[in-house]
């Protein structure tokens, strides 16, 4: 209605011949106080309408006058507004009164007519009348629709503003600075990320290397353990059993057999539960045979891991171990096996003097 006000406000100005300034309105405040002045002034626009609507503005005039009088007591700046409202109001009432015959179904115009009829209907009463009871008229619905749109826009705007309120109010240079800082920070973080990734790759490689070295060491330890007799071993091989019915077998014969087996590629040997390794020795003690200080009795069972196809012929060659033993009234039998278990162990002995020179 503000445009309405504007157009209406412009209308009385030529009629009044007063400029639309605050100073110009002050005389407008004054005329309603003098009943003679406003009446001819207002009768000009109402005249074409007819005598019917005439009372409306006339009665509106004292009402506005009362308000304007109250307004004059108020500060001048505020007082200017109701003064204009008074002028607009009276003129607008004329206009709505003039519209009444044009659109009788028009609800708001109809509302204006009782306003004219009831001279004591104040703005507050009009507000109450407008609020209750609710009336479903075309005008109300249209206004409701427009206000719905307004509320929608208001809510949307409020929400979109509160979404990123931190940056919305910032000045342009602040935004540029923030952007620069963010860029710097991003760069720093990227650098750090790169550095950390490099470090991770390095660590992974080194840990891979360490793992590989550890595996190799374990493998080597196992191999060396087999040689040193500290771990059990299994694999294909042969079993050599030497029976000594006549007591003719001596330690050198067993040692010959061991040498022969080693020459043929034996990898792990045990004799009657004693592991034979590099520093093993055979000795004759009181008619019995000792291996590494442990007495062993006939029959002597050699469990040998190696290639059976090499080991067996090595023992059976003419003039070899088997023939020599048989010549001494002993029996020697060789049996191949796909799985020989050498599980006799030697304790790990730390050498007294020799130290590894690889470290």
């Amino acid at each position: 209605m503000s445009d309405n006000d504007k157009t209406l406000r412009e209308t009385p100005d030529p009629q009044d011949g007063t400029p639309r300034t605050t100073g110009g309105r002050t005389p407008e405040v004054a005329p309603p106080r003098r009943p003679e002045a406003p009446l001819p002034e207002r009768s000009v626009p109402t005249a074409p309408v007819g005598p019917g609507p005439l009372p409306a503005p006339v009665r509106a005039a004292p009402e506005e006058a009362g308000k304007a009088g109250a307004a004059s007591a108020a500060p001048t700046t505020d007082g200017a507004a109701p003064a204009g409202a008074g002028a607009d109001g009276s003129d607008g009432a004329n206009r709505s009164a003039a519209r009444t015959p044009d659109s009788p179904a028009d609800e708001e115009a109809g509302e204006a007519t009782p306003a004219g009829d009831g001279p004591h209907l104040t703005g507050r009463q009009r507000l109450a009348a407008g609020l209750w009871p609710p009336r479903f008229s075309r005008a109300q619905l249209i206004v409701a629709l427009l206000l719905f749109v307004l509320g929608l826009g208001l809510a949307i705007q409020v929400q979109s503003t509160s979404d990123n309120s931190a940056l919305r109010g910032a000045r342009q240079e602040d935004l540029v600075r923030i952007l620069d800082e963010l860029d710097d920070r991003t760069k720093r973080l990227e650098d750090e990320k790169q550095r950390l990734e490099d470090q991770r790759t390095e660590l992974e490689t080194s840990s891979d290397q360490a793992e590989e070295a550890r595996k190799q060491t374990q493998e080597k330890e196992r191999q060396l353990g087999i040689l040193a007799g500290t771990v059990a071993a299994q694999g294909p091989g042969i079993t050599l059993t030497i029976g000594d019915g006549a007591g003719a077998v001596e330690s050198d014969m067993l040692l010959d057999a061991i040498q022969e087996l080693r020459a043929a590629g034996a990898e792990a040997i045990q004799v009657n539960g004693v592991r034979v390794v590099a520093d093993s020795y055979f000795s004759d003690v009181g008619g019995a045979i000792e291996v590494d200080g442990k007495k062993i009795d006939a029959p002597y069972r050699f469990k040998v891991i190696g290639k059976p196809q090499d080991l067996e012929p090595a023992l059976n060659i003419p003039g070899g171990v088997v023939q020599t033993l048989e010549k001494e009234q002993a029996t020697a039998t060789v049996a191949r096996s796909e799985k020989i278990v050498v599980d006799a162990l030697r304790p790990v002995e730390r050498p007294d003097y020799a130290r590894s020179s690889s470290q």
């Binding site: 445009d3 609710p134 109300q140 206004v143 949307i156």
Partner: protein, 110 residues
């Protein structure tokens, strides 16, 4: 009453539905809302004055919104969008204040 209901419904719908505003309309929405607010305050004042005409209200509401958006659009094209927006808001704010003063006089008689 129906009008107040419409306003409340609009706010509730806007808060609940959270519709996405098209990017084209986005810069004009705040100024359009302010313009519409001005129209609403003017309409309320006219109602209290007893001179409310729905047709005028509708036309003023729509034209306010359109003109405000147009001014902002023109300002954006001329490179003075921010300043022109401020100007529009100031003008509309003054009008809203004067209308609110008139409404206050009606309602509180002070």
């Amino acid at each position: 009453m129906i009008a107040v209901l419409g306003l409340v419904l609009g706010v509730v719908a806007g808060l609940l539905l959270r519709p996405e505003v098209p990017a084209v309309v986005e810069p004009y929405l705040p100024i359009a809302v302010v313009a519409a607010l001005d129209a609403v305050f003017g309409g309320l004042r006219a109602m209290l004055d007893g001179i409310f005409v729905d047709k005028v209200f509708v036309v003023s509401f729509l034209s306010n919104v359109v003109v405000a958006a147009l001014i902002v659009f023109l300002g954006d094209k001329l490179g003075v969008g921010a300043q022109l927006s401020t100007g529009v808001v100031v003008v509309l704010g003054i009008r809203i204040f004067s209308n609110a003063a008139a409404i206050r006089r009606h309602v509180f008689r002070a």
